[in-house]
Symmetry: C2
Subunit: 171 residues, 2 copies
């Protein structure tokens, strides 16, 4: 199993790569490079995890308070179309966005206590799904697997929970 560490530092080179890739996408599509889009994507790629529009907007406004959520939404759609970002929904009613990790595809475990979302990948799981689809005369384009539950490490979980509450207070 591969587990992605959400606490790893931001890889500046990787961010630069993403920014370049996005710039190329924009060019290819005959769109324009703008101050706002640059602010938004550079903010986005420096954030880790599964970012909601709200969360991103808060950060973006720190760099430029005049940017509104319409532009954030629009830019996120472009990021998704460019293939640099994936949209996810974990059932709390709002979309979350995730910059592609080193691991191309992965599934998620979501802690209902502290909100931690961790990513994992397992080839046997993938193979088994293919097998089941085969049996059912079905061709898989993509899939989604989410495990909802709780961290067993209660101490760490509790710390994250409190951090989250503190953040919610501050907002």
């Amino acid at each position: 199993m591969v587990t992605i560490n959400p606490n790893s530092p931001v890889d500046e080179d990787l961010v630069k790569d993403k920014e370049t890739a996005f710039a190329e996408f924009i060019q290819r599509r005959g769109l324009k490079t703008t101050r706002q889009r640059n602010t938004i994507i550079s903010t986005f790629f420096r954030l880790k995890g599964h970012i909601s529009v709200e969360e991103l907007l808060v950060e973006v406004k720190k760099a430029n308070p005049r940017i509104g959520y319409a532009t954030v939404y629009r830019t996120l759609h472009l990021l998704v179309e460019s293939g640099l970002v994936e949209e996810r929904r974990f059932g709390d009613g709002l979309a979350r966005y995730e910059g592609h990790s080193a691991v191309e595809h992965h599934d998620h475990m979501i802690c209902l206590e502290c909100g931690m979302i961790s990513e994992f990948y397992n080839p046997r799981l993938e193979a088994l799904q293919e097998h089941l689809a085969e049996e059912n005369n079905f061709e898989i384009y993509r899939h989604r697997l989410e495990l909802y539950g709780a961290c067993k490490d209660k101490a760490a979980c509790d710390t994250r929970k409190k951090q989250k509450e503190a953040r919610a207070q501050g907002a």
Copy 2:
């Protein structure tokens, strides 16, 4: 693998059981039995598959056109709270409701062409998930696995697709 056949006839005894169970739930909670609720649940349990609020409302109105969607929403929430029904979201932005099948838990394959949703269950898949959670020091409460793709039986798929389009026309 267990595959649930969505074309099996409605089991009247099972419907009666559900109705009784719901009546007991209502009583237990100190709520009231009403004509509207009876209409809604009896309509719901006679429908197969993954019913949207819209679809249910259309059917309910055939029995009693005066019933509005607020009541349908409210009754569906009660059904979910009673544990007789599960809410699902397959990414098209609307909630779908599913009366528990004979198989307690199951996953879904969703055809993006014809909209067919089929259910399956595989113990190895479940076991593997448990194993992965274990490795990650995580306790699973529930999970969700959805395979999005297309039926390989193009003829059958196309027929369903056309039926669906016809229904959309009619509405």
